[in-house]
């Protein structure tokens, strides 16, 4: 007698081969989706949001594409998740990790069809991943000692990262920007102190790195437009009406005259506060919150430059670069550390007026001003630059470098192949499959560039059969080239993360033999 119903309505259950099929298909669909964006000749995607305004994003950043997808397939969600993690951890390689995981699963599907148990495949994949990682470790170069070489490594990595992005036209320019910005950080990975300001207009090549700090705000009317040797007080305080914070307090009056009195008292209170602030001996006051007209006028009278409504990040950064405290009370001016900078002035970028702080104390922070034809271009440029900055800041800490252009994949694939030959048992099929999946990445790069991938890969493999080869795919000339001479490098950390998380994700999906989907939670129609 069959059970009529074990699960709730609409909950579904898929078992065994069907479950496996569903997850393979889902994962491969995701991989195929982002596959065409891989490599320097990868194409972009247009994403249109379903929200109001139907905003459009043009991007070739894997993580951004996947983040905006609405997916129902659970296996596909695993891949999206690894891409997100890759973005958070190392910033780049978000497409590669998904493509590699997809290829691993594609190979695994073939093996499963040959009746090899998923657990055997997993065991093989694990061995292969370990072996591949060791191969990378051996081949990685570390130029930390030689600062000149290290810098050129960084330049190469930045250029390689940027070459697949919208910035590839001016990659040299942007690579220089990114390297300079990251080297200023002196080893910290805190990218917050690099500020990126986007201003539409001009062309990408007009973008520049500014050593000081630029705040996207206007200077109040009637206040000095230029201050030399500025003493800055950075504050987070209410400069509208100071609310009484004691619970339950309220104003209750019985005549108009009293109202007027209290109003005067309020004004007096504000005036006192302003006096206290001015008593710090400052000539620039930056507040996170609003400044009402009345205090602003007072500041103008005292010749103090007051900037209101600087956002949270802006305040923190400003405090960081000028070396001042963020203050909220102003009773003891002697102990509050003020920020200093040599010059504050209003500058024009395109149509907009911005406030420029130059000659700041801390050399760490800097601002990159991006110019570009449209907001879409700017958004994509920012994402690309962010990728480059992330990779560079990670490389500063872990300075091991690999060549690019499919070179690491070929190295790994060669080692893994050798391991397969040595391993007895069914596992060796899985190890071989791993090596094929690794080779798929240079294949896709070549395919995307419209090259004859089969021909190129076989040439490449032959080249790599020699012991020390620096060969990879030279997409520009369409042949096999020496990556070292072409100056194409990648960070070791990125490659390692791609390898490990792709294997982990593939393993996770392979282990599944049953999918149970709960009934979707009913949402009340608010329409």
């Amino acid at each position: 007698m069959a059970v009529e119903r074990l699960f709730k309505d609409e909950a579904t259950e898929e078992k065994g081969d069907r479950a496996r099929m569903a997850s393979f298909v889902g994962a491969m669909a995701i991989a195929d989706l982002v596959k065409t964006t891989l490599g320097p000749k990868g194409m972009d995607k247009i994403l249109q949001s379903t929200g109001r305004g139907r905003t459009v994003t043009v991007t070739n950043d894997g993580a951004t594409i996947l983040k905006s997808l609405h997916i129902d397939n659970p296996a596909a969600k695993v891949l999206i998740d690894i891409s997100k993690v890759q973005d958070d951890e190392v910033g780049d390689g978000t497409t590669s990790v998904v493509v590699l995981a997809g290829e691993l699963l594609r190979e695994a599907e073939k093996l499963v069809n040959q009746k090899i148990h998923p657990m055997t495949i997993i065991a093989g994949y694990r061995m292969a991943a370990e072996c591949a990682r060791n191969a990378l470790l051996l081949k990685a170069k570390d130029n930390k000692e030689d600062s000149e070489k290290f810098r050129s490594d960084l330049m190469k990595i930045a250029m390689t990262t940027l070459s697949s992005k919208i910035l590839s036209q001016d990659k040299e320019h942007f690579a220089k920007l990114a390297v300079n910005a990251v080297l200023r950080l002196k080893g910290s990975t805190n990218l917050e102190s690099i500020q990126i300001i986007k201003k539409a207009g001009g062309s990408l090549i007009d973008s520049f790195l500014d050593e000081g700090f630029i705040l996207d705000k206007k200077i109040g009317i009637g206040q000095p437009k230029r201050i030399e040797n500025a003493k800055i007080l950075v504050a987070n305080t209410a400069m509208d009406t100071d609310k009484v914070k004691i619970y339950g307090a309220r104003v209750r009056v019985d005549s108009m005259a009293k109202v007027a009195e209290i109003e005067v008292a309020e004004k007096e209170k504000m005036r006192e506060k302003v006096q206290k602030i001015i008593a710090h001996g400052i000539n620039c006051f930056v507040n996170r919150q609003l400044i009402y007209n009345f205090p602003e006028e007072l500041f103008a009278d005292a010749g103090v430059l007051a900037i209101e409504h600087a956002d949270f990040d802006g305040i923190e950064r400003l405090a960081l670069v000028t070396g001042g405290d963020i203050a909220s009370t102003f009773d003891n001016p002697e102990s509050v550390k003020l920020g200093h900078c040599k010059l504050i002035e209003e500058i024009m970028i395109g149509e907009d007026k911005l406030i420029h702080f130059s000659g700041v104390e801390m050399g760490q922070a800097c601002t990159i001003v991006l110019r570009g034809a449209s907001s879409h271009v700017l958004d994509e440029a920012e994402r690309s630059l962010h990728d480059a900055l992330c990779v560079l800041s990670q490389t500063v800490n872990d300075s091991r470098v690999l060549l690019g252009g499919g070179w690491p994949e070929m190295i790994m694939s060669k080692e893994v192949d050798e391991l397969a030959r040595k391993t007895p048992g069914k596992k060796s099929h899985a190890i071989e499959a791993f090596s094929r999946a690794l080779q798929a990445i240079p294949t896709i790069i070549a395919d995307n560039a419209g090259l004859d991938s089969a021909e190129l890969i076989s040439q490449l493999r032959a080249e790599h059969h020699k012991d020390t080869s620096n060969c990879g795919i030279d997409v520009i000339s369409g042949g096999v080239g020496d990556m070292e001479k072409l100056g194409i490098s990648e960070a070791f950390k990125v490659k390692q993360a791609v390898l490990l998380s792709a294997t982990e994700a593939a393993e996770m999906i392979l282990r599944v033999d049953e999918i149970i989907t709960c009934a979707p939670r009913r949402r009340e129609d608010r329409m």
Partner: protein, 535 residues
Amino acid sequence: MALAFDEYGRPFIIIKEQEQKSRLRGLDAQKANISAGKAVARILRTSLGPKGMDKMLQSPDGDVVITNDGATILEQMDVDNQIAKLMVELSRSQDYEIGDGTTGVVVLAGALLEQAEKLLERGIHPIRIAEGYEMASRLAVEHLEHISQKFEFNATDIEPLVQTCMTTLSSKIVNRCKRALAEIAVKAVLAVADLERKDVNLELIKVEGKVGGKLEDTELVYGIVVDKDMSHPQMPKRIEDAKIAILTCPFEPPKPKTKHKIDIDTVEKFQTLRQQEQKYFDDMVQKCKDVGATLVICQWGFDDEANHLLMHRNLPAVRWVGGVELELIAIATGGRIVPRFQELTAEKLGKSGLVREKSFGTTKDRMLYIEHCANSRAVTIFIRGGNKMMIEETKRSLHDALCVARNLIRNNSIVYGGGSAEISCSIAVEAAADKFPGVEQYAIRSFAEALDSVPMALSENSGLPPIDTLTAVKSQQIKENNPYCGIDCNDIGTNDMREQNVFETLIGKQQQILLATQVVKMILKIDDVITPNNY
């Protein structure tokens, strides 16, 4: 169906709105129940053992969970059937009691139900079956006790504990680095264990996860890790020899519970109120400073002004720390949780050797490490992994391992795994069955057969021919009189579980058998199922 007749032959209704309810009675009810129970067991069966597969579960909100932990699978499953819910309960209670073996208990219950179905078809009364099962389970538990071994360990020699935890972890996805994780679990448990009383409070072990990095980076922190950062960006990120004030009151003006109003009608009142307000903040911060605190951890938020005052007086502070974390911090640092500023004294401060902020990856994720605490009895296991699901699964696996280690400290008897204990019990129960007169004999014999299903599932999942393997092992056990022969899941080449170092806890195994028997008895006793039709 549910009509009854009074003495005059008029029908009256027993169940309200009976037309709308469907009803199953007698043998039909039992069979329906049994098949539901079996269906649940069938889902879990493939997850058993080191080569067991995982299940992917999608929650109503679309989140994906991948796991092979029986309790988690059943909890996430949207089960509607009553009997299936009982099985879910069963696995949950095993989880609460023991923490491990949640899959095994369901598989065993399923097998018992399957056997009961056969007996029912022969016309044996369900109550007799239940009684037979009861007797058999007692026999099996006694036999387990008999074949169990004490094993010795102490705080310095943790190897046996690690081995047992490794057995638990080997069936999970984390088995790649089971050695490292098992060591972490054992060290964590030993750190908080009270070896005198043989008790372990697992609440003192906090398991935190953060995506990124790799599984091998998972570490044990002797202290607390809190997913928070300093309230003011410019506060020091590293404090040595911290004296911690643990507060549950906000840095805000007091809010009396009684309703009150302060009316401001004159300018003077307005001004005094203002001064009072400033004084409040000043007092609060001063009090913390006066007792000598160098770090303030607060459950609530800070007002901007208070935040600045704290910063200004060089008193780093952390806000919005959850209640549970607050308690752990209090335990670890030996401090007291202070609900009011007035009650803050120097003795109530917690002490810790080092407090530092650590940042991860490219986003601005920061976490606060509180280490070298006065009382290192609270520890944190900090898990890293490639993706969110991996972390979640690692958390669950570690929980199992922690429970196993705790159980061993409570009771250091072990039995051998790999199905050897079940096979041995099956032999013993089978032999004992013949001594019982009456129908129960059949039930006891069926129980023995049901016990075989666990090693059967193990060998099936490992890709071995189940019947061949099971019979071979069974005959070997009888021939050599060696109860430690089990299924060689990992293809190591020996059947002897002592050589393979596959251990399980005695109480875990006993509990499995007892709980499964209980639930099966309960299901067998049901002979009437009334369900509302299409509510």
